[in-house]
Symmetry: D3
Subunit: 331 residues, 6 copies
């Protein structure tokens, strides 16, 4: 049987302008649903993983549409709870060439931020699970969301489930009165695999080092349960052309992935989540270097697909890792 | 020169599903911007009236897009203020046949609800103005919005400007702790022309009468400045087919309009605002019966046009009043 | 082998707003190509008639696109000539309910209006032909177009080809300095079948009668070659709902068609041309009453199809004449 | 907990022309997935029923898209098997007014028609199930499909599951060498609730009666397990306007539903399946007359929704049964 | 007068996802019609060649739509026969960057594969013809299609018509029980110009050489009527960026074309057919090197155009050969 | 308060094919409105400048739509006059890769070309104005348009307003009987800032020099009021990839801007006007080198936006000048 992975986080409605239109000129928005953690679940579900996403959505037609969207991708939506409240949403304007992409968030006060998770039977959810993934976005949303994350982490630990955390520090979140350093360190203590860059180390772990390796080592010294730390490197020639690679620090050893030129980016949103999904899949099934290459290839393919979701098959990621099929016409 | 009319109220982003799609199936939303009061301004501007809409919008690209949308229709947007905060929005699913239309509101905590209007130079705004229009939606949004309405009304009175009020009672608004009866009577005291049905009388004026005429008389007894009370009558055969007519009570006399069969409704949102715009235009330029007929014809034409805005010309409304051009091909 | 029918006239680019949008709000126009005479050729070609349309179009990509459009429908485009000049065009806003449809013409000075037809080998074109169809729009466009019509008519007569004329009087054409009465009578002298209403009789034939039968008789007295006169009757409940019927005067006898309720009109443009095509097909293959019923049924079906072209099969028209398949789901 | 209902049948890709375009003019097809039995499962799933659809689909991206589509609606897709072969499909042109709707089927030789169901653990599927629904389309597709139906029916019987059969006789299916009378009677012997009209009785049960009641009685005499027979009555004024009602024969008693005028039909495909879903839901939860009314109201609402799927909530159907909300704007 | 070229082959309906959408996410397919041989006819017709395409299509609206599509491009459709059977079709997902393009074929058992061509008067078709083009796809479809190809080739030879063959070996075709080597050599014996790469030589001619020149020489030794052998070279940096060039072997001499960087590919389908059309046109009108350059430039331009058809003018190809207009704005 | 800039010129309807479709294949045109001078006004209005555009448009719905379009962008439309006549229009096919972009103009005889401007109160328009911008397109349209330009220039001079002229020589305009050299020199005498390349100097100023600096000097010698001359340099790798830079000659000194690689051009129309707008803004607010860089960055961003209008904010241009945000995702 496939692996079982649990994710926790808000799902937002994403409204993006078609073609290359700007907010100022569009009269039509294309809609998908996504969130940093749900995007990971979606990618894993497509690869045959039993992915359960835990979340709360408003109990109206659009909340239900969002849940159905997740369900379509194969995610197990039995832990989607419908609550009073609004749908978090964000507006996206895809950039091109020298023009940057823009996001206007409107996620404040969403149903998820009030979700306490009392209905969740965490032990059943984590029973037989292989992995739990959370991100630093959730504890940044509200005090309740931070507590919910902690509850989930404790249950994961109790059930012997491996934990990954995408630190994902964003200053303009964290508006409910707590600072990241008051909240994140406790949560990170339950986590084995971190996605973190130097800014994340500084703001969420109070680690101030000049090199990435040093920062990883310090992190492990502080939190001995940490086994892997990773980050992607995006080199942006323009909004249409980026180069992408990643590094993975594993118990003191730093390995690097191949670098890919992404020359005609269709949609970069969810690129990091596709990396995360690839890494989880990789660490569950492959050796470290292979896992890292799988993760980067997964992310590269995401950049060719409209929407948040990484709609690629295992075979497609594996082929890219081997350098196969690039530019082919598969009949 | 044309007349000058002032309107005050929130402008929302409206996201509607295309064709006859349901919320559960759409992946695209069509966007326009509107609000009960702004819709009145838009219609009047198209008829050559100098219509100034006073409002606040978020100071980001979508707020600016909303303002530009108003500006495009000819509305004077010099009194649109850009503020911190979110854009109020609503999702619309157009019904058809036996299936009702549905709206999901997401307007709580919008920039407008925090707007105190300190920047507005009310005396300059009302200088030379002929009319001020407000609705019961604004004081229902927040305490600040109720106070803003009162400030505007006082300034209107001071400048000798005629005032119309669309009572528009909606129970699911009014969530900031005050009841309509604590707020509305004071505001109605400044108003000359009321759009009100029996439910509005009951909930916002504490007038409990069995006939419309009696209710109008009681209203005038309580508020002697009231000269006109009006309401439309919509007879819904189905979501696609309504009949529409209206009555106008003028200082004790009740007159009735023609009734129109609207057999292939395209979009009923804004139908009431088109009536209101027609009535204001009519009372400023025509005799009462003509004004009433103009208002109803304006509303009927609105039902044939997608969006909130009543994009019809004076000539088109006048032709419909005369029964001309119906079903024609105008070359 | 099938019949051979020749048509002559301008082909315009038609730009129509999608859905029920107004000119004032659309940012997209849907394009087809058509003209009163070409529309007749298109319908006939679909029914297996060898239909040759004679016209001139601008020698640029859009002129070529127009010709290709005709060719797609099966029309013989060997007599389409590419010339210097512009493409005539018109903008269409489809009405609905009480709101009328609107057309803005922009056809002045088009390539066709300068076309003298010197390249046309009329005798080859009319060789073996069964019918020639022209309309009063062509001689209204320019002096050259009037002369071209006359040349074609003379060649048709010389080759013994039956001629139909859709008088189609429109006052806002006829701007090149001649009045209809200076031009049309000479052209009508070559015509056997007329589509004409009382206004057409008055303005183009100087016949002022009070009844339709009387007018037809007078016309035949003046032009003994006339065998048939016909007109449709459209009763417009609204832009969405019309009733349609027709009468055919044949050598002194007036027959009437069934009347159809068209309750959900999709596109009325080309409805008259579909009638004309039906009548030509009918008079070539059927008895008079059958021909008349075929013509009206053809026109009714056109109203259900977007675009100028009457994309219906012989079988579909015949079924409607018999009252079959109405409201069916044909698998 | 909710009821459990099993359905069995082919899922096709449906390609329909947008707006009112004809096959001859469209350059775009809108895609959904559906089938007579799957449509029943979809509607039931939306109402909280645990609906399992048993089928086979091609093991390529489009087969997976079809399965995901079902999954999105809430159907349990654990019994969707991916096999070699092609996707059955059909092209739909929606009619309007006098113009009939047209379907071009291209379902021959699809993966489902080769499906033997050896992988299906029927006892597990039917364990705890309340209902099994099949239609006469499946045994008409291929010998294997007929055998598969029989296997399912036997397993249903063994597990004490109630069975409904939509006879749905279509002459142009049944091309594999067997006649309906050779196949259907045996299958009907396992069924308790029949959807059948007089033509179905004649062609699939060899029952030739003049009245519906007599036919139902004869059917029960031949198959004593039959408890209910039902059929809808569609009165087609035009493709846009039908009236709909139904009758239900229950152990000798015939009851009739209300009749609904459907005056602006959006999409009639799946209307019968929505009726069937409504009836199953009704017979599982309501008294007979209520069940019948629920079924018809379900079908009426379907006609207002694009696509095969009846995307309406329980509350919406119940409201229509009570005559509530018709033509309303629900905020 | 222009040259006359005959082509023979299946025309399929192509259904492609819009923008960069994947099969898994689209709900809309864009439709054009094409096939390897018909695409050649389309390009030639646009350049003024009298191109006759011989094929069979299903006798339903979609078959007729396909024929009309061909007719629109200028192809002579007098040899399109309408038969019982289904339309072959294929689904296309356009790749981008590292993501490959994908095709799902569904062409088995199409009307064309049953077409015996008895109605074709081959001598009349080839009368005065300059060229006949066939591809290795046709004999791979069915025994009847292979025989049809042979009949055509014999007639072409009898009428002294030059013949080109695009070998186009595809392993997953050839499913009717014969191997390419049983069928192709006989057909190649009638052909003068071959498009073939080393794989084609091996699988269809049993020629196993290591260099292209050697393979060409061997081919000519076996088939002395062969005068030209050619192949394109595509260097795929990614799905969005290819380099394209070609070689032409002419009676022992190998010439090479310029190489083009195609950096923003819109649609590569039909690129090979555009090359073939260019080569036929070139060999009919130009010297060899010019013909080769014309062919490659034709193919390059095709990659910038959505759809199978190479909608470019002679002037545009000629300009590219000369390096003119690249990146220009032509007013 | 902001600066005040006046522009004068025709506004055309632009009809462009969607995606990468060719004129020959599209059935839909996207519509915006623009013109060389109006595009300058639009960009300036977005940057807070009080931009008044003086023009005439046809007095029908499409003329009004054009005016509303301008108004939406913030342009002051008080000097838009509605007149008899047609709307000038142009059709645009966006090129890609080696395929050039194409424009078909249809602007002859438009309402603007007959506009004499008698209603314009030039002194009021120029009162307090900082800048007037005209282009060589206007005097090329008609004698009346040339005279109108002269009137405006005289009024500008009288009011002490700085003047810029985009010479913009296009041979295929100038069809009313005058040559550029008869008309342009007199107009240039009133202008301080010229956009001109060597071809412009030759055809419109009779200046024949081999170097740009020499030409600028000669121009100043002939017209001592000239202070600045400028031109952009576009290096077209393909229709999708251009490099862009500019030079500015200021009283004898030539300065050069940075060069930008524009690798994924969305829409190049209006790129020159965005440069002009940037230069005007820059010369009004910045030092020369900064102004030049601002102008080029403005033009670069325009190439990423569909439509004529340069919908970018001041902050976005300034960030690009500093090299900030390129390829970023701004949240």
């Amino acid at each position: 049987m496939g692996k079982k992975v649990i994710t926790l986080g808000e799902v937002m409605m994403r409204l993006s302008t078609p073609s290359h239109e700007r907010f100022l000129q569009t009269d039509c928005y294309q809609v998908v649903y996504g969130g940093a953690e749900a995007n990971v679940a979606v990618a894993l579900a497509l690869w045959g993983v039993h992915a359960i996403h835990v979340t709360a959505m408003p109990d109206h037609d659009i909340g239900h549409a969002a849940s159905r969207y997740l369900r379509q991708t194969g995610v197990d939506t039995s832990q989607v709870y419908f609550k009073e409240g609004r749908m978090g949403l964000y507006f996206l304007e895809n950039g091109t060439m020298q023009r940057a992409s823009k996001i206007i968030y409107d996620r404040f006060d969403a149903a998820f931020s009030h979700f306490e998770g009392n209905e969740v039977d965490w032990n059943r959810v984590f029973d037989g699970a292989d992995w739990f993934h959370w991100t630093g976005i959730t504890p940044a949303l509200s005090e309740k969301a931070a507590k919910l994350t902690l509850s989930a982490l404790k249950a994961a630990q109790k059930n012997g489930v491996k934990v990954s955390a995408d630190i994902n520090y964003r200053r303009n979140l964290w508006q409910y009165g707590k600072s990241p350093l008051e909240v994140m360190p406790e949560l990170i203590e339950y986590s084995n695999v971190l996605v973190a860059g130097l800014t994340d180390f500084e703001n969420c772990m109070d680690i101030h080092e000049k090199t990435y390796e040093k920062a990883c080592e310090t992190a492990q010294q502080l939190n001995s349960q940490i086994t892997h730390v990773t980050t992607t490197h995006r080199d942006a020639v323009s909004a249409s052309h980026n180069a992408l690679s990643a590094v993975l620090w594993e118990n003191g050893k730093l390995i690097r992935s191949k670098s890919y030129e992404m020359t005609h980016i269709v949609d970069r949103i969810g690129g990091g989540d596709a990396y995360m999904a690839g890494l989880i899949y990789g660490l569950l099934h492959l050796h470290s270097q292979e896992a890292l290459e799988f993760a980067v290839a997964s992310s590269v393919l995401k950049h060719s697909i409209p929407g948040d979701a990484n709609l690629v098959s295992l075979q497609e990621v594996e082929a890219l890792v081997k350098g196969e099929n690039v530019g082919k016409l598969l009949r």
